[in-house]
């Protein structure tokens, strides 16, 4: 058993010794890659005289390896130029561990930003704004419904971002309105209130609905951020929810936070246009490609994207995919007016994104300088015939399921559901990250050597078993970190490991002092070993369990460094209990077991304790 666990530890910690190759990962939005793409890439690299190897890939992504960072960067520019803007070329590191190791899930530890450099953002979603937006939407819906039903009101007011009131001149109109509205707003609570001769209908969002709005908003913003981070070409970014209204974004390797901020706050919108009429002057339209055809899109914007309140991909009654677009009240009026007058014409929807690209050029000194340039990328995503005057909610059909999905995703990723603020930000340079990692690992090494020497000196053979256990313990911690836990090693995490090294020998110290004590009481060696392990066990259990509890509390409520520290501390406590008790015991049994022993090599045990105690 012990042997098995040790082997497991060895197997899963070994991959950390294989250095990674610099690599580029090439993916493309929604489309699939084929052999033609591979050829484009290899030709481009050969033309740029960049050495590369190990091209591998499948439908969705392609990986090319390089010898050095310089090659990697040169290759990135070359490939980007060759493939064009539809492809995302991300700097990446490719593992060099043998395939069979990867197959059993043995890989490297994830390093935190503080160990490899990068940008960390904590973004807070403005939930009040999200609620207000939703409530404003509701307000205009109420207005439209009441107008359609010809119920007269004496005013509609937003009281708070979860409460609105409608005023009526008499109770009859109010109850009529109430019965009309109640079906349309199942998520609202209705209440009558009279102030003098004004009859008020209060509509409040239920607590559940508010929570749901929060959840939806956070999820939508996270999706948007994910899409945007993808566009940045960052390998292995983290976009995680934290708490009820925050999102953590970690971008390893990104060295220009200003650029990252601009991209994350990127504005992408939709524009609704009509197709240019035949014979229109060439100044009044612009041609766009759509499914292999050129479409002339009229320059007049009939509706701006900020009028879109929601986009969903659904199936119609025949089971065919469609994209449902919801507009806000004003947008609804606008689209209705325009489409009513243009039935039979084609309506075009453009997706407009602000993107950035890096241009490399030579300056007057002949040095290469990089410059970030922002540009608008316009794409025609829908080209469909207007069959009837469009209401606030309409669908676009004639798309494949995948196109419908992509479209709704693209549109949704285009706009943030609620504004976000960066509340915490940290930029760690690559040099600093490497220094942190090296210093941390050196700390682990020196600390281990010192402790090992001390134990050997103080407890002799028993000390040696404790040392073996200690090394096993470190291996196991690394193995656990690199295999089945999605944990990230950070600097405080390394400190946690170092601290466990100091404390891991504690269990052995407890056992060994106990054995020495028994020996000085005149107990024969084999029995002394037995008694030592048994008596020390409860103490070790109590001591470690309480420490584990503290670490667990830290893990649950802490963030950032506190969490990183508590994870390794918890792992360390568990593995050290195993190695210090079970591990050393089996070693001691190997050395002293099955024979009668006269003397144990455990250092001097004729201590002064006995004299003091009596």
């Amino acid at each position: 058993m012990v042997l098995l666990i040790v082997l497991w530890g060895l197997l899963y910690s070994v991959p950390n010794l294989y250095p990674d190759d610099e690599a580029l990962q090439i993916t493309t939005e929604g489309l699939s890659l084929n052999s033609a793409d591979i050829e484009v890439v290899t030709t481009a690299l050969e033309a740029a005289q960049v050495e590369f190897f190990g091209v591998e890939g499948n439908d969705t992504n392609l990986l090319v390896r390089f010898d050095s960072v310089e090659d990697q960067l040169r290759a990135k520019t070359a490939i980007e130029d060759a493939l064009g803007a539809d492809y995302i070329v991300a700097l990446n590191l490719a593992p060099t561990t043998p395939n069979w190791m990867q197959a059993i899930g043995a890989g490297k530890m994830n390093l935190g930003l503080d160990l490899q450099g990068g940008v960390h953002f904590l973004m807070e979603v403005d939930m009040d704004a999200a609620l207000e937006r939703r409530m404003n939407d509701n307000l205009s819906n109420v207005r439209t419904i009441l107008r359609e039903e010809r119920i007269r009101t004496r005013g509609l007011n937003l009281i708070s971002n979860s409460h609105l009131e409608v005023r009526f001149a008499n109770a009859g109109e109010r109850s009529q309105a109430r019965s009309e509205l109640i079906d349309n707003f199942p998520e609202m609570l209705f209440q009558n209130r009279d102030v003098g001769d004004i009859f008020i209908l209060d509509m409040r969002m239920t607590a559940d609905t508010i929570l749901q709005v929060h959840r939806d908003t956070l999820q939508a913003n996270r999706t948007t951020l994910l899409n945007r981070v993808d566009a940045l070409g960052v390998a292995e970014p983290t976009v995680q929810q934290q708490g009820a209204n925050r999102i953590v974004v970690e971008l390893p390797g990104v060295q220009d936070p200003a650029q990252a901020i601009r991209i994350l706050q990127r504005i992408a919108t939709l524009e609704f246009h009509l197709e240019a009429e035949i014979g229109a002057t060439s100044l009044s339209y612009e041609p766009y490609e759509y499914q292999g055809l050129l479409v002339n899109v009229d320059n007049d914007v009939i509706l701006q994207g900020d009028r879109v309140s929601n986009v969903r991909s659904t199936l119609d009654q025949n089971g065919l995919p469609q994209v449902q677009i919801n507009l806000d009240a004003q947008g609804g009026t606008q689209i209705n007016r325009v489409t009513r007058d243009n039935v039979g014409r084609m309506m075009d929807i453009l997706l407009i994104e602000t993107k950035s690209r890096t241009n490399t050029s030579l300056n007057e000194d002949g040095e290469e300088v990089e410059e970030i340039e922002f540009y608008e990328d316009k794409r025609l995503i829908s080209h469909a015939t207007i069959r009837t005057a469009l209401p606030r909610t309409f669908v676009i059909t004639g798309l494949t399921a995948r196109e419908a999905n992509d479209l709704s995703l693209l549109i949704r990723s285009g706009s943030l559901a609620a504004p976000m603020t960066i509340v915490e930000q940290s930029v760690i340079g690559p040099t600093m990250g490497r220094e942190n990692l090296e210093a941390g690992l050196r700390g682990v090494q020196v600390a281990s050597v010192l402790v090992v020497l001390f134990m050997l000196f103080y407890y002799r053979v028993f000390g040696m078993t404790a040392n073996v256990a200690l090394i096993m313990n470190i291996l196991l911690i690394f193995a656990v970190l690199s295999s089945f836990l999605p944990a990230t090693l950070t600097l405080p995490g390394i400190v946690g490991i170092v601290l466990t090294i100091g404390m891991a020998v504690d269990a052995n110290v407890l056992i060994f002092t106990r054995i020495r004590e028994e020996l000085s009481n005149g107990v024969p060696p084999q029995q002394a070993i037995d008694a030592g392990y048994n008596r020390a066990f409860t103490t070790i259990l109590d001591a470690n369990l309480t420490t584990f509890l503290v670490a667990l509390v830290l893990f649950t409520i802490g963030t950032g460094p506190v969490k990183g520290f508590s994870v390794t501390l918890m792992i360390g406590i568990l593995t050290s209990m195993f190695t210090a008790i079970v591990g050393t015991r089996s070693l001691i049994n190997l050395i002293y077991g099955g024979r009668s022993v006269q003397k144990l090599s455990i250092g001097r045990y004729r201590s002064s304790k006995q004299a003091q105690a009596t």
């Binding site: 340079g429 942190n436 090296e438 941390g440 170092v498 100091g502 504690d506 001591a543 963030t559």
Partner: protein, 307 residues
């Protein structure tokens, strides 16, 4: 042990001094808990802090604080959040400030200055973190009290928690006395100290429990003393190995972990002292008896042995 009263007096004094220092000096809260922007810069050679400060003061950064950061080549410049800027744009502005300051210093110095990184924390997050940290300590202390009360006895949990509170107050007191920065790393260290000191206290308590159960004779004070002596060598060895490790982090672990190591070194020394003198003292003052520690099932049988 005769030193008991002296130890109690020393501890009382330490705690009082710490509390006074904490109220007067307060803690030097780091950026994590307050708010603002910090810019880390590396100079090719030794930096003259006064010179850097002068340059910043003359160029409109009157509120900037320049501190050295680990080595004499690295500095950290801390700036308060610019309240005139919209919250939405503060982070972006913080990044620009970093680049601007680096450029400013470069133009005023021959040294090779590189921007190592920058941090920005908004006022809101800082406040929350401080609350979270305080809450964390309270929750941790509460859970420990319950665990020890269940595993041992209520008097032991009072002893352990008093010892822990003592450790935390004195460590924080030392931080405020020497004006060391208190940041997220030091907070993590505080929590580690809870774990470490607790470890020590439990080992001693465990021995006290065992001795009370096994030995028929002796006053509670004698038994506590005996237990302390029996565990003393272990307490010292463990503290020694832990300190060995901590000093190696302090010396070679790099600047980012120094605060952490210092906090833990102080904590380990105080924690070792408190588990020997404070926790057991409290247990004695609370008049621990043999009955407190009897295993309930055997109570009937054991009672016969009592007068």
């Amino acid at each position: 042990m005769g030193v008991r009263k002296i130890a109690a007096a020393i501890s009382a004094l330490l705690v009082v001094v710490s509390i006074i220092s904490l109220t007067i000096n307060s803690l030097e809260f780091g950026l994590d808990f307050t708010s603002g922007t910090s810019v880390r810069l590396n100079y090719g050679g030794t930096v003259d802090l006064d010179e850097v400060n002068g340059i910043l003061q003359n160029n409109g950064y009157e509120d900037a604080v320049v501190v050295s950061f680990g080595t004499d080549r690295d500095i950290r410049i801390i700036l308060p959040v610019d309240e005139t800027v919209d919250v939405q744009d503060q982070a972006g502005q913080a990044v620009e400030v970093g680049a601007t300051i680096a450029a400013l210093l470069r133009s005023n110095s021959d040294a090779q200055i590189s921007l190592l990184g920058s941090d920005y924390v908004s006022a809101k997050v800082g406040e929350e973190l401080a609350e979270q940290g305080g809450l964390g300590m309270l929750v941790a202390l509460g859970i420990i009290m319950v665990y020890i009360a269940v595993r041992f006895q209520f008097k032991f949990s009072v002893g352990a928690v008093v010892a822990l509170a003592h450790d935390l107050i004195v460590t924080l007191g030392i931080f405020s006395l020497v004006r060391m920065e208190f940041n997220l790393n030091t907070l993590a260290a505080m929590l580690a100290i809870i774990g470490y000191s607790l470890n020590d206290t439990i080992v001693v308590s465990d021995r006290i429990r065992e001795n009370f159960r096994r030995m028929r004779r002796g006053t509670p004070i004698e038994m506590v003393n005996k237990s302390l002596n029996q565990t003393l060598s272990r307490t010292l060895i463990t503290s020694f190995t832990t300190l060995l490790v901590l000093f190696s982090i302090l010396i070679i672990g790099g600047e980012s972990t120094q605060g952490f190591a210092v906090a833990l070194i102080i904590g380990v020394i105080i924690g070792t002292y408190s588990s020997v003198y404070i926790a057991s003292n409290v247990i004695i003052y609370m008049k621990v008896t043999r009955e407190d520690l009897m295993i309930p099932l055997k109570e009937g049988a054991d009672l016969e042995g009592h007068p």
